[in-house]
Amino acid sequence: MAQQAQMELGSGPAIARPRVGQTGWALIGVSPFLVFAFMFLILPTMYLVVGAFQDADGNFTFGNLADLFQPSIRSAYWISIKVSLASAIGGALVGFFLAYAGVMGGLPGWIRPTLMTFCGVASNFAGLPLAFAFLATLGRTGIVTVLLVKYFDFNIYSTGFNLLSFWGLALTYLYFQIPLMVLILAPALDGLKREWREAAEILGANSFHYWRHIALPVLWPSLLGTTILLFANAFGAIATAYGLTGSSLNIVTILLYAQIRGDVLHNQNLGYALALGMILITGFSNGLYIWLRSRSERWLR
């Protein structure tokens, strides 16, 4: 999902009046793509959306959506939202400081390209391998856990920490959330013009004034937008959580996975409603992200 940030929504200059060839060929050339997108992206999604409003016999109903509020499903959504929020806000904060340090911290020149390259790799290092890495690090027999007991006589598991729980999952998600934040925020930080700071200084502003009145107002759409993007990113994730906890953690992607595998909800159409709920949440967050992005762009030219 990292790449979404780099996608400019604005299009290049349209070519005004085509002189060459015919539009007919062009339509034929585009049609395979449109047919493909319809069959393998739009139709399958529509099927679930429509199914969410039907009962087992195909009659129209809101019952499935109402059933989403039964305690087990509601808690799955709630935990998913909490984990996504925690990892998004944590990732945004840490990523902001890291990006700031790399871009404007006045550090040696090699820091920034190194940081960016590593972030490119780490933001794509997700899924099962990431889960394995954290199990080897902070699992019950993980090295950090063992070393802390050995040298500091401190057992993190005695504090209530558990890698296979809410905080463990959020901590693991940070491994791809922080780099994503850095990747997306670095260009926005580049947009903060040196002259603005100089002008502020000449007018007698200190660092606090500068951030309060200039930098943060310019940056907030990027900051908020990216945080929302991180939220959607974590919300749709499954493989990392599945690798860490198997099917034991009750988050919505794992519940849906179990439903697809074995109809654990005993109601096919309730599964569709579960999927619809996910689309609504990720769709809403992405819409918000795109809107905020367009707001932040005017400063970044």
């Binding site: 290049g12 062009a26 769709g283 992405n286």
Partner: protein, 260 residues
């Protein structure tokens, strides 16, 4: 306003610790298979496992098929949109962004309901067609990156002049497409391809739900049943990801766009 560098160094230091420690720990763990001494036994076991080889090979083929199908779908589309159908651009861009909005697990859920063995197009009925469906699902996953890479590539060449020149020389549209446009966006396709490879090789949800013997489900199986091998696999996966990103940088844009 003097800028203190202490804060910046502190941020970098904390970041480095958070990102390096799990990698070091995983590497150390992966070496501990033999009791009392470090060895590469876990790697030997993994690399020697026929299921590892088979699943890795399968995923590599899937990635290659995804890149070919994806390029064949995306390049002509991006070309015609840019040259003749600018009005379709918002629609096509919206479609290519959809896979980022709809979670992968939802898309594959739809496939399983729409294309199951008792449906109008029973794609999941046989192995071959299931493989094909998996390829298509990966094309969908890769669509946002592929389209964006190709569209950026097309922006940097003068599509119109190239097309006119080719037409004046008597080229038909397939000649234009395969002899002019494709070679010109080769670099863009390559950088999209490596990213696609990185995505496909470790993908778990779709392969698992479509019940295909890909690398992702193999990882899950090993993760659930072994102690040291998963760490070795995590290190291997990290190296593969690193290699893909390195190749993108090598082939693609300069250091300024290190973020793809």
């Amino acid at each position: 306003m003097k800028q203190s560098r202490f804060g910046a160094w502190l941020a970098i230091a904390i970041g480095t610790i958070y990102f390096i420690v799990p990698l070091l720990a995983t590497f150390e763990f992966s070496l501990r298979m033999r009791r009392g001494e470090y060895s590469f036994d876990a790697y030997a076991v993994v690399l020697g496992d026929p299921r590892f080889q088979a699943s890795f090979l399968y995923s590599t083929f899937q990635a290659a098929a995804t890149i070919i199908v994806g390029a064949l779908l995306v390049v002509p589309t991006a070309y015609f949109i840019r040259l003749r159908l600018p009005r379709l651009r918002p629609i096509v861009e919206f479609i290519t962004l959809l896979p980022l909005v709809i979670p992968a697990i939802v898309i594959v859920f739809g496939y399983l309901r729409l294309y199951n063995s008792s449906s109008w197009i029973p794609l999941t009925a046989t192995t071959r067609t299931s493989d094909l469906l998996l390829t298509f699902s990966y094309v969908v996953l890769a669509l946002p990156y592929m389209y964006r890479a190709v569209d950026t590539g097309l922006r940097s060449i003068d599509v119109r002049t190239l097309t006119e020149a080719a037409e004046n020389l008597g080229a038909g549209w397939s000649t234009i497409m395969f002899k002019v446009i494709f070679p010109n966006v080769k670099v863009a396709i390559l950088s999209g391809a490596f990213l696609t490879f990185a995505i496909v090789i470790g993908e778990f949800t779709m392969a698992s739900l479509l019940d295909r013997p890909a690398f992702g489900p193999y990882l899950q199986l090993i993760g659930a049943n072994r102690a040291y091998e998963p760490s070795a696999l995590a290190i291997i996966a990290f190296i593969v990801t690193w290699a893909c990103m390195g190749l993108i940088q090598l082939f693609g844009r300069g250091p300024a766009t290190a973020k793809r």
